[in-house]
Subunit: 254 residues, 2 copies
DNA sequence: ATAATGGTTTCGTATTGTGAAATATATCTC
DNA sequence: GAGATATATTTCACAATACGAAACCATTAT
């Protein structure tokens, strides 16, 4: 097997070092995070900037992701056929329940939002495509785990589950029981486990090979979601996920 | 000045070779487009794939943009503060006029959609963030040119304007006159110049340094936009662009 | 005024990326 | 089914590049 291009890997790791907690970083900070020499980091940034992949804030000297990545990301998003096919289902669900609806996939131990349709109400759960969230304490993550392969499940259970709120389920056995209940009712529930004030329900999209392709979730402010409303939304998201699964069942998507 | 990293530039040009007309390409095709050796292209693709920047379709052997670019693009989009600040204005305008509304910027001789809010009506103009469109025959482009610097204007006028429809204005003097009328009424008009069946109006967002930061456009199917409706929408987009310009005027955005 | 910190540049050289050539795989034609 | 064609993948000698140590520059803090 051929050897990967070292400086290319370094550059990609550099780009991936930016996240929404660190949208801007300087040469020295990036060098420290990536364990690279400042001269190397500077040379990579200089080249990325020439092609518009990063841009330097002249006032601070720090760098951020550039316009070319916005464009490539938009093109990459267009090609996620699951997103495209799911959109009408998400729109219908959002219009019916008037809460924030999202589509997420599992990736490297976390859930990543592929699409978010926010509630039309003034008070709503804000989320963004591309954002990552933990698996063990979110409705999306639990809907995934309940139907995931044993390997993904053991990966999560073998790692320390850090409490996000006092309601976070951190005991592996309690989580397994929660996942059993999820399978029983066909949708997961997160009651202020990931963030105080937010409740959510989610259901899996199963593809033609009986694998969890993605999950659909509904999230809302806790005060607007008494138990009977949670049940209603759970049934709605289960129904939508089932319809989308059926819609996708005839063909596999990437 | 330091010398850019050659293989990094090559990799970025490779990624930028993908567009919505060419979402998937193989090693040989990319080598031809980029004038690089197949072994070089293969090595770059192999490395990009390791980090998730591209993925190979096992069925066809061709490559497409990968999930990491989707994520980076989403993060890059989040940081375009103009997009964020403009969104409420775009939403209000779209809800009022019930046609597709978009925000675009000028980049390298073309307009690029930053944000698109599609009409809620069943028949609507579909557009996508990240897409590019010509300057001389779109409402967005003409709104930009009317207020752009002389350099951008001469760049466009000195290049051949290829007709997109029988209505495309290709004569430099006729275009200049059209731009004069645009400045006079405060918004541009494109009557099926870019695509048969589509009419659009657009107005510039002027920042605190009196430069055109972006443009807002409204686009709709021609049959739904008789002349008096075009005038209404023109006034509406002009008003929204002015409000946004004022909103942004106190601070420069990147 | 000096020190500390972060960004930028230089340049000798070790390491890497290159591409010519070969091999492997898949598809097409007869 | 054999041979031809096209594309993808791999190998390896070596030329060219990327590297990082050191120095320099600019800004901020003391």
């Amino acid at each position: 097997m051929s050897r990967p291009v070292q400086v290319l890997q370094r550059a990609m790791k550099l780009l991936t070092a930016f996240d929404h907690d660190h949208p801007e970083m300087g040469v020295t900070e990036l060098a420290q995070r990536l364990d690279l020499h400042k001269a190397t980091v500077h040379r990579i940034l200089f080249t990325l900037e020439l092609e518009g992949f990063v841009q330097q804030n002249p006032a601070t000297g720090k760098y951020r992701l550039g316009f070319r990545l916005f464009e490539l990301g938009a093109l990459a998003a267009e090609q996620i056929s699951l997103r495209r096919e799911a959109l009408p289902f998400l729109e219908k669900l959002r219009d019916e329940c008037r809460e924030t609806v999202d589509l997420a996939v599992y990736d490297n131990g976390e859930m990543v939002y592929l699409e978010v349709l926010e509630s039309p109400l003034p008070i709503k759960i804000a989320a963004r495509p591309g954002r990552r969230l933990p698996v063990y304490c979110t409705a999306s993550g639990k809907a995934y785990l309940a139907y995931a392969g044993e390997e993904d499940l053991q990966t999560v259970l073998s790692q320390e589950m850090i409490p996000c709120t006092p309601n976070t389920i951190c005991d592996p056995e309690a989580l397994q029981e929660d996942l059993r209940l999820t399978r029983e009712r066909g949708y997961s529930i997160s009651l202020e486990e990931y963030e105080i004030g937010i409740k959510a329900v989610a259901a899996p999209i199963i593809n033609g090979l009986s694998r969890v392709e993605a999950v659909i979730a509904i999230a809302g402010p806790a005060y607007r979601l008494p138990p009977e409303r949670v049940t209603e939304l759970g049934e709605a998201v289960r129904q939508t996920a089932r319809e989308l699964s059926r819609h996708l069942g005839g063909r596999l998507t990437t």
